[in-house]
Symmetry: C2
Subunit: 315 residues, 2 copies
């Protein structure tokens, strides 16, 4: 396998995606480039906050809080408590350690670095072996149209806790991807779409100028974020229903169809995908629920083996 | 006294000045407007940091750490420790609670408020009775020329701990004062220059367009920050020596002479001011060392009594 799959580009959102990224990073090291959604980013208290980049970086730096599954371990909340006393808005959870990341990123950006460069700098300080690349160096905010009006992503996701019904999503379609992200995508032998929310986390990457075109030229494996119609975490199933896609593996195949070569979904999922949906797409069932580090590495290895098969077939 | 002195404008820098401001606030409440130096302000990690405004606000809000004399009581340093682990610059002490103030100020400024409006908002949330007004709504950074080159104020004051010899100081001369600060100055019956560093904290206010002209039309009392040739805190005596002013009460009278009516200095100070220096200026010795809240109120009352005398004389 290692002889065939040299360079992998992974597309990832936050927590769910970051689990597989950790497995891929453990197997591939510097041969992995992860292109991370920045549609969730927001400017908050003057700071540049990149929740998905942080989820991936914290996972790879070994800093993720094991209990919460997001944010930094051994977190404290002193600044947030002081903001609360000051009647400042505190619906976005800013831990003191997490805050340090936002502060330093903002300082690096204000010193003139691009988001790609600032992210590389942070990754380097945390001795992350693989490359972590924001999908774009420009702001590409995803907007969520709900029954209560348009919301920014974090307003929908955190402040409203995904409660309002989603009527539509607006990505920054046609915006320029980051130069480093695009180069990594073009250099990849295999593209892995991590088990992130397709509509919230992956779609903003796909909406960037030229990304789908490159994906059409590459073997692409998606790992489904759904298990038996439910998301492991987050609102993927709820949104799939509200937007009329349906929370099924068939719906995910349909959504990624223009460039998809294979879908991996959980071995416990009873869904059997109709041959007409599956046409030309390889389907594999594996354990996609990742609880331990070993689960993450095992799934990464299974995905890379499937990738080697795809590459061998094309030759 | 209360019948004569209605409205007082105080000019203040940081910690030393804030002590007298606390006393004046306790006596005068809403009839006090404090115009605070913003020459020490800096943008740091993307946040707008206003150390002197914070010293005054924390004092009036009853938040000041009693042991350190600056910053917030019950402070914790989790974010700073995380910044240290991240190899970010940490010479400027950012406590978690203090950070919340910088975050909220920055948020208010980014929402479109002026610094005067943002300061009024913070003061209101802390139920501060008197008015706290930044000297200007525009950045007016004080630059310090040292034997090691030009430094920003905080680089000199905190990073270099005032060690380099000062060769000169550059204020943003002629910049516009804040509209609220100027209105408060014009409306004042009496101006009190708090025991702040004349060259670092008061001079930047005096350098603003029109401020000295208004002071010349008002009774002005300065409270000296020096006791027997030494500053209670900070580099006032060192700088007075390095710049050739001399760390004496006579030097302070000389510096403020164009608009000064009276100088109050400590009752333990052995300096006797020569009549030719004193010409036209009333000199009073009082306890100016303020350790307790009662000391602060007592000094404020003594200053206001002297103010009443000055006003009675002019009538």
């Amino acid at each position: 396998m290692g002889k065939v799959v040299h360079k992998v580009a992974a597309l990832a959102g936050g927590v769910g995606g970051a689990k597989l990224v950790l497995g891929l990073d453990a197997v591939l090291g510097a041969n992995l480039s992860t292109i991370v959604n920045t549609g969730d980013d927001m400017r908050w208290f003057g700071l540049q906050i990149c929740p998905d980049l942080d989820s991936v970086l914290y996972a790879l730096a070994g800093l993720t809080d094991p209990a919460r599954g997001w944010g930094v371990a051994d977190e404290s909340w002193e600044a947030l408590a002081a903001l609360k006393r000051l009647n400042a808005p505190t619906w976005f959870q800013l831990g003191d350690r997490d805050l340090a990341t936002h502060l330093e990123r903002t300082r690096l950006l204000e010193s003139g670095l691009t988001l790609s460069q600032a992210t590389a700098e942070l990754a380097g300080r945390w001795s992350v072996a693989s490359k972590v690349l924001p999908m774009s160096d420009k702001p590409c905010p995803t907007k969520v149209q709900t029954e209560n009006g348009w919301l920014s992503f974090q307003e929908y996701f955190v402040r409203e806790a995904c409660r309002p019904k989603v009527l539509g999503l607006r990505y920054r379609r046609g915006a320029l991807p980051g130069a480093a992200a695009m180069a990594a995508l073009q250099a990849a032998d295999l593209v892995v779409i991590c088990p992130s929310n397709p509509w919230l986390s992956i779609a903003p990457i796909l909406a960037l100028k030229g990304v789908e075109q490159v994906l059409k030229q590459k073997p692409v494996i998606a790992v489904s974020p759904l298990i038996a119609g439910q998301a492991v975490k987050g609102p993927a199933a709820k949104i799939a229903g509200e937007l009329g896609f349906g929370a099924t593996q068939a719906a995910i195949i349909h959504y990624y169809k223009p460039f998809l070569d294979a879908l991996v979904y959980d071995h416990t999922d009873p869904e059997r995908i109709a041959p007409k949906v599956q046409t030309g797409i390889i389907v594999r069932q594996q354990q996609t629920l990742m609880k331990t580090r070993q689960d993450k590495i095992a799934l990464a290895e299974a995905v890379l083996e499937l990738g080697a098969e795809l590459l061998a077939k094309k030759k």
